[in-house]
């Protein structure tokens, strides 16, 4: 029994230095995830800002007139369209469209994956942050404004610090989803962790070791994210009391 496991391990990871494939896969997965995460957060923050400003301050801007309201209105419409399309279609389909249609001229599959996953994640991050802003009691906005703070000051000093604390669990949940979702990158030929495990399987005709190793590595990465989340949440709570 033990000998079989040992032989299986050697076959899948040691022979032909196949562990290097796993390592490369991990690096690719982490690269895609981290860049997509940054793109997602940037897109998410921008869209949440546009949408909540439109909801909270749109009336006021409309009343005062001028071009800025029309600009905001147009931006809000674009954001809503983006959210509808991205959240309404499967990630894999988006990835394939990005690779075979939008970036058809590019051979850099990793870069395409980063952008596709980033754009996808942005929609979810946007709604998480917007939900966080909406969950703040209206009285907080009113108190800020009644003291003479303008809309942006109220957002910056009063609302956003509270939002960050509130959305952290949901945001980390999205990051966890993202890291696992990148496992479909193999569809466009990216050699990420999942793809590498599958490649080893197809070469050694032994599924158990490589696939379980892949699963274990995802689990460790997700646990790392969870640990980071717990620490951040604890630190933010400490600041409150």
């Amino acid at each position: 029994m033990f000998d079989r496991i040992k032989a299986d391990f050697i076959l899948n990871f040691v022979e032909s230095d196949r562990w290097l494939m796993i390592l490369k896969g991990v690096v690719a997965t982490l690269e895609i995830t981290s860049v997509a995460l940054v793109i997602g957060v940037v897109i998410g923050v921008i869209i949440a800002a546009v949408r909540s400003t439109y909801d909270k301050n749109g009336e006021d801007m409309k009343r005062r007139g001028g071009a800025s309201y029309h600009l905001l209105h147009a931006a809000n419409t674009v954001c809503r369209l983006y959210l509808t399309v991205i959240r309404g279609t499967p990630t894999v389909v988006q990835l394939l469209i990005a690779y075979f249609i939008i970036f058809a001229s590019s051979n850099n599959d990793i870069l395409v994956a980063m952008i596709a996953f980033g754009i996808n994640s942005g929609a979810y991050v946007a709604e998480i942050i917007r939900g966080g802003i909406m969950s703040i009691d209206e009285g907080q906005f009113e108190a800020g404004r009644s003291l003479g703070l303008n809309y942006y000051m109220t957002m910056r000093y009063v609302v956003v610090p509270q939002v960050i604390k509130n959305v952290l669990p949901a945001l980390f949940n999205e990051f966890i989803v993202l890291i696992k979702e990148t496992s479909v990158a193999g569809y466009i030929g990216v050699e990420d962790l999942t793809k590498m495990g599958d490649l080893i399987r197809s070469r050694t005709y032994s599924a158990f070791m490589p696939l379980l190793a892949v699963a274990a590595i995802y689990l460790i990465m997700v646990m790392g994210l969870t640990a980071l989340d717990t620490r951040l949440e604890r630190r933010l709570r400490r600041n409150e009391r």
Binding site: G65, S146, G148, M153, Y157, E240, R241
Partner: protein, 248 residues
Amino acid sequence: MKDESYLIRVEDLHKHYRDHTIHALDGVSINIKKGEVVCIIGPSGSGKSTLLRSLNLMEMPSSGHIFVDDVDITDPKIDINLHRQKMGMVFQHFNLFPNMTVQKNMTIAPEKVLKKNPDEAKKQALALLERVGLSDRADAYPDQLSGGQKQRIAIVRALMMEPEVMLFDEPTSALDPEMVGEVLDVMKELAKEGMTMVVVTHEMGFAREVAERIVFMDSGKIIETGTPEEIFESPKSERLQSFLAKVL
């Protein structure tokens, strides 16, 4: 029409929500002098809070005008932030910022809006806290305070901006009964010092004792105004009579 003797003039204010079915304010006009303490009373849904909240445009009136220092603040070209600095507001639910200490709650607006020196703002905050007997809570967070303490902090937070008018929106309605007194005491103190105050309240005792003028509202209209004696001793309208019969 310029009239120096009034700090606030409200002219034919209307406010309706959704397709004009609900008329929260139905042609309200009222003038308030500098240093005057006005209490607005009336049944719930009478529009008293809407009127108060219109005075610093927390609520945007549908039509009519509000002059503060003879400036029409309903004019879209007015910088409303500038006007809100002059009008402190105290809310029913305190609305302290939970992410800041008591002191920071008080100094954030003076520092960011008036560009006040932080040391100076701190000194001013501590002096005000001293006055309301809360100087030992400067570094506490709102969650650690009782309702009465929160509301006293909310009052001094508004005072930090050195407003010309203080607006109170049912300041004691969310308090446990034993804490109402401490908040009303601070308000009485403020009235004595000559602050112009507009107070929406259910505290008839307070209204009677402190108000120079009482405004009774019902279904979006001012039904009756008068001194506390006039309102409480000889109410003219039937609606005021039946309201007083229920609350007194």
